[in-house]
Subunit: 451 residues, 2 copies
């Protein structure tokens, strides 16, 4: 029979088992961290009516969308988790209580040009808090705590949550009579990290026709840095010139005020006036997160405050704040950089039971006892030589082999062999379960990311 090559589409991640275990661990950390902050898990369809998904229409995204007909229906695959959330909140409005806090970890689809590290199918891991008409600034103040707990939960220590406020930026441009060009200026300033201040200044002057001292004004403002207290002191100099600016500054003060109470160390936090994020969407606090030793990765967790989640679906004013982690890309980069721990157990099981008797009753009962003791247990039933069995144990990387021969059966014990140290001890099945659990829990207690 002619065979079809079992290929996977380019831009679609499909991991080997041991790597998939690490990905699962990553998702588990996210679920736990998001849950601890009182976000409820949601699951929305991957396919939506194109008319619903593209209600906002236009833009760069539309070209990338997977859109197709099925029967008479014009369908599309979701390209983010925000539009489905808007649809969900508008559609279930009457059943929900506000503020409504949800997390969603799910696959989204964008038909981008395939290139290394770019995915067409990828996980996003989002949280959002949605208010009904109003939403208190405390929700914005809490977001850095979620980010901090999530990344430290993954094992990262050296990362920085960068925060800004769009009202401060808009206010600054208004004060300087640059409101009309604000969008273009922000897009240019966004290149600071990449090309440096001199080149940005040049672009501002040459491409946006700004007079040099105004361009310098912009760069001076963007260069404001230091401790939270220092930055805020500098910003206070602008107070009273623009109502929006003042509002943004008050919000920024509120966002920084409770950081310590939220458990966020100041070294993991910085006010950064260069951050703007999505220009037509965010209206208040904006967030980015960078890994200190790997700035080239860019922001691994971004988001912000928006005023109107679902205006295409409902007249209700639904302000919110949210962040998103591009999970597939983050995993890919961490894996590429060798930053994922090899300490945690990635084998399919913690114990491999190797029966060496013709009657298997005792081996089966031992496997059952291990499982009842919470040990992930594989019972090896193949008729192979002992060496082949041990080779298999090695290859799958199982922490413990559990040998059950005539002697063990007669004594009512199993021989537990530590596959790392080679050490072997005889224990009852219940003792073996406790022994293996303790060793495996210890190994899994190490963080996923280690460097």
């Amino acid at each position: 029979m002619a065979k079809v090559a079992p290929r996977t589409l380019s831009g679609f991640m499909e991991l080997p088992p041991a790597q998939q275990m690490k990905m699962e661990r990553m998702m588990e950390v996210l679920r736990r961290s998001y849950s601890l902050y009182g976000f409820t898990p949601l699951d929305t369809p991957i396919i939506e009516a194109a008319q619903v998904l593209l209600a906002k229409g236009g833009g760069e995204t539309e070209k990338q969308i997977y859109r197709f007909q099925k029967g008479d229906s014009d369908l599309a695959l979701r390209f983010d988790l925000t539009v489905p959330l808007a649809k969900y909140v508008a559609g279930h409005y009457a059943e929900l209580s506000f503020p409504f806090r949800r997390y969603q970890i799910g696959k989204v689809y964008r038909g981008e040009r395939a290139q290394r590290g770019r995915f067409r199918e990828f996980y996003q891991a989002d949280i959002d808090v949605i208010g009904d008409g109003k939403l208190d600034i405390l929700n914005e103040a809490e977001i850095p705590a979620v980010i901090y707990d999530t990344f430290t939960g993954l094992g990262l220590r050296r990362f920085k949550i960068r925060v800004n406020n769009r009202k401060i930026l808009n206010g600054f441009y208004a004060i300087n009579g640059m409101s009309e060009k604000a969008g273009e200026i922000m897009r240019t300033v966004d290149k600071l990290d990449k090309i440096g201040p001199e080149k940005v200044k040049q672009l501002l002057i040459e491409e946006l026709n700004m007079i040099p001292y105004k361009a310098e004004n912009v760069l001076d403002f963007m260069a404001i840095s230091g401790s939270n207290a220092e930055v805020i002191a500098r910003l206070e100099n602008f107070r009273g010139m623009d109502a929006g600016f003042d509002e943004g500054l008050d919000e920024l003060i509120a966002v920084t005020k409770y950081l310590a109470d939220f458990g966020v160390p100041e070294e993991n936090f910085a006010i950064d006036l260069t951050i703007a994020r999505g220009l037509d969407y965010y209206t208040g606090t904006v967030y980015e997160t960078v890994i200190t030793d790997h700035p080239e990765i860019g922001s691994v967790c971004s988001g912000g405050r928006y005023d109107n989640l679902a205006e295409y679906y409902t007249d209700k004013q639904l302000p919110g704040v949210g962040i998103s982690i591009g999970l597939t890309r983050l995993f890919y980069v961490l894996q590429e950089q060798g930053l994922l721990s090899d300490e945690i157990v990635t084998a399919p099981c913690d114990a491999l039971v190797l029966p060496m008797t013709s009657d298997l009753s005792f081996a089966v009962a031992a496997a059952t006892a291990l499982r009842q003791g919470g040990v992930r247990t594989q019972l090896y039933g193949e008729q192979k030589k002992f060496k082949a069995k041990m080779n298999y144990a090695d290859k799958i990387g199982v922490p413990f082999a559990v040998l059950v021969g005539e002697d063990e059966m007669a004594e009512g014990v199993v021989s537990v062999k530590d596959m790392c140290s080679g050490e072997q001890v005889k224990l009852t099945p219940a003792e073996a379960a406790a022994h293996i659990r303790a060793a495996v829990d210890k190994r899994n207690d190490t963080p996923l990311i280690s460097f």
Copy 2:
């Protein structure tokens, strides 16, 4: 602005938050149970090249498939998790160790006619063990244990795992000179549950032109029942007449032999000779699982042994055994029948912190302490009257409200109010965390399914 109705496509499940929490719990039980048996989690793309996905081609399924073009690519959405597994195992053959045991819980797509309780997007939860060339019968013997642990883990007690062996059926038809009609006979016998033996006999005679005593032979055979020992004793009467039958009988004996050691009570298990499952796929042991008090639901977990997983992709002979749970449908039915417990906590959080002071430092620190103590905590920041805050707590169904006023702040405590009993106690944040955890763990210790 004109609004687009925020509708969800028919045949696509989108749950309200409290129900979604129950669905998450269900998936968690499955992940845990599958993991305990040494199955490793896999995640494969939802989109595949149509040529790859439809390598087997033809059949009823093809019409239901979501297939579309994107650029030059002919793409399709997976319609089960077996074809992607075949592709995965063939493609990653060199990296895998056999037997290879994987579980996958993922969405699949079938454009069936929409009707109540039928889904076009639905979760399957599959396990499979794949051998390289050979696969020991012990793997087939273990499957009932996985099914038993999974369903008891969900809280079900009254269910039955029905087991048969295709070799026994084929052997029986060969012995009776009915091999040519075996497929048609099995399809007719499959209706026994629905239309009863008399009507099946009539169909066998009228539609398949069987002579009456042969039809009776078939029905007599199908009616064999009793304890495992009784059924096997009856089947032993046929030994020696057909090599395939004898092989099937030996396999059935092996599958039943270790049930007790696997921890499967005999009341949850039955040999049922009427079961055949997918006619062109399974070759040995086959499984179905029915909920005793709800036979109308049909089988909630089915599968069997097959000889060649990936023949469309590789020359390697890859026999396997697997089962699948149609998770979305199972959840839907359990929900409809009111069989899901209302005891487990389905609120977004376990504790809702209600600050009643102007400085929020202490309330924020208390929320942080609760989270550090493992309590899913929402900090309520909206400026509302006390009554509105308590209404919100009621509406989201949170088990505990944590009140933080001037008095509490002065004393360094919080007031923990049990939203069920109304009881209120003052505790330090750390004590509150332990108190709330204990109460919530107790509630969540109840099984998901309860009746």
